[in-house]
Symmetry: C2
Subunit: 309 residues, 2 copies
């Protein structure tokens, strides 16, 4: 079968709607005190995020034969973790960013203290949501997904990357240190999203290893593309100020190895990600539905590699 651009766009939008509808139920909107914490959580959760991590998780789950709503709480949880990390990252003591996705950052609207607590609350709610699901679906390996996500968001993943990023500001760092930051701050959670999707679909160890390679390459390509866009895009396209890395005195792939080599590395990683997916396709996708889901995941990978925002 062929997977048209229209098919892709429709499936993409459908998945965004599924995620947004579910997120809406997880964060109370009224009759709950203290209201401001829920307002603040909702403000950042519904600030126009692209839902890439949850969609990647769902797509991977489905491509590997998973079906049903069991994946949704986990997909929402990874978006909550991503959002909490952005709220805390934007705080004055960290990156001190005033805008995110074209809107004032959380602390600019709710103040630093509430923003801090809203971040804490989203991390906590992510685990709460997954734990509730794990109790509800004892027949699904939810604990494996919980384990993958918890490890990726901790000090040996995202927080480790954020810490190293912080230590590297205003410093000339080498490519190994930058690699560590990108691997942990960004790629770890993208990789965890697809791995958790595969685990929930009860994929084999071999399949999960291929998915892990796919997730790593995709995550790294995604972050280096971010470094590139910060230089070549416009504020309007990005929804946040360009040249923010320079402003924050942050080393990037572009600043260390140059624009051309960065672009070539993104190409190389994209190819590796696609190759991993093709291996997976040959390995597992034997029936029609799985093929269709596999094609969505392939299209999604291409879409992410060629994004301009």
């Amino acid at each position: 079968m062929t997977y048209t651009k229209e098919n892709f766009n429709n499936t993409f939008k459908e998945k965004i709607n599924t995620i947004n509808t579910a997120l809406d139920t997880y964060i109370p909107i009224q009759n709950e005190i203290p209201e401001i914490i829920y307002d603040s959580m909702r403000y950042s959760i519904f600030a126009g995020g692209k839902r890439l991590r949850p969609i990647l998780m769902m797509a991977c789950y489905e491509a590997l034969g998973g079906h049903g709503d069991e994946i949704i709480p986990f997909a929402c949880a990874i978006e909550m973790i991503h959002t909490y990390s952005l709220i805390h990252d934007d705080l004055p003591t960290m990156d001190n960013d005033d805008f995110r996705r074209g809107k004032p950052t959380n602390h600019k609207v709710y103040g630093e203290a509430v923003a801090l607590l809203a971040g804490d609350a989203l991390l906590n709610l992510a685990f709460e949501t997954m734990i509730t699901a794990a109790k509800k679906y004892p027949q699904i390996p939810c604990l494996d997904a919980l384990d993958i996500i918890a490890k990726a968001s901790g000090t040996r993943g995202m927080i480790g990357g954020q810490t190293m990023d912080l230590l590297s500001e205003n410093k000339d760092i080498d490519i190994n240190t930058l690699q560590y930051i990108h691997e942990n701050k960004t790629a770890a959670m993208i990789c965890a999203a697809v791995k958790a999707g595969a685990a929930m679909a009860q994929a084999s160890i071999e399949e999960i290893q291929i998915v892990e390679r796919f997730g790593y390459c995709l995550g790294m390509a995604f972050q280096i593309q971010d470094d590139i866009l910060d230089v070549i895009s416009t504020t309007e396209q990005l929804g946040k100020p360009i040249h923010s890395d320079i402003k924050n005195h942050k080393s990037t792939y572009v600043s260390i190895v140059g624009l051309e080599e960065s672009k070539q590395y993104v190409e190389k990683l994209s190819k590796e990600a696609s190759d991993a997916l093709h291996t997976l396709t040959n390995h597992t996708l034997t029936n029609h539905i799985l093929q269709e889901n596999g094609h969505f995941l392939l299209s999604l990978t291409k879409y992410l590699m060629h994004r301009s925002y």
Copy 2:
């Protein structure tokens, strides 16, 4: 049997050692980058905390027939959550406290950004630790304990209490609002500690309800005693500045209902907590070992009610 003061002290110290030894293994000390995040986490985890929540959890687990090391990761996790909340609470944007347990607060030593991340990391590690245990002990109702703890530390528990506390600074609040703050900011996690211990011991629904009542009364008494000690104790005894509530323009039980009525309320709550424990003792403690563990829990309750620091 009688439970002497010496027995109590020995059991108490033994449990502190067990917790500290386990916490030491959960947070890497070397060969891990970025080192500063682990240093910062360890600094606050080993800053002389009384380990009340983990000890309560273990004592409740054992009094209800639980045995073995399965409880330890959960006991350590609740201490990590407690510690993260203190680190974030002490930040300049929150309470802006320079001292905690007689030592400079985390951000005074490591800076605000690292303190923020160390708090995030401890919350994340708490869940990571419990999830690893849940995978390791499939025969124990670990998910129930995870669920109890996650709910208590979220917006319908501790974070809700912290938010309301923040909103109430420099305001005249009524006793209902203060009750909400104390119930959620403090009692929720103490209650979760004993409930999770009971759940892990596979206690009956009836037993868990009694334990919940015990935990609520103990938690509230503990917090109101804190309000009282902030007025009548000394900086030396408390290990932190006294009159901090007045300094931070915070309403307390003492400021709203007065010292005498506060003391009476602590007495009433203590009695209710002890009564609940006696009901539990009559209900379950039939053999010698359970009786001994029950006596430790009773002694611990008395000790907490009469503390001067």
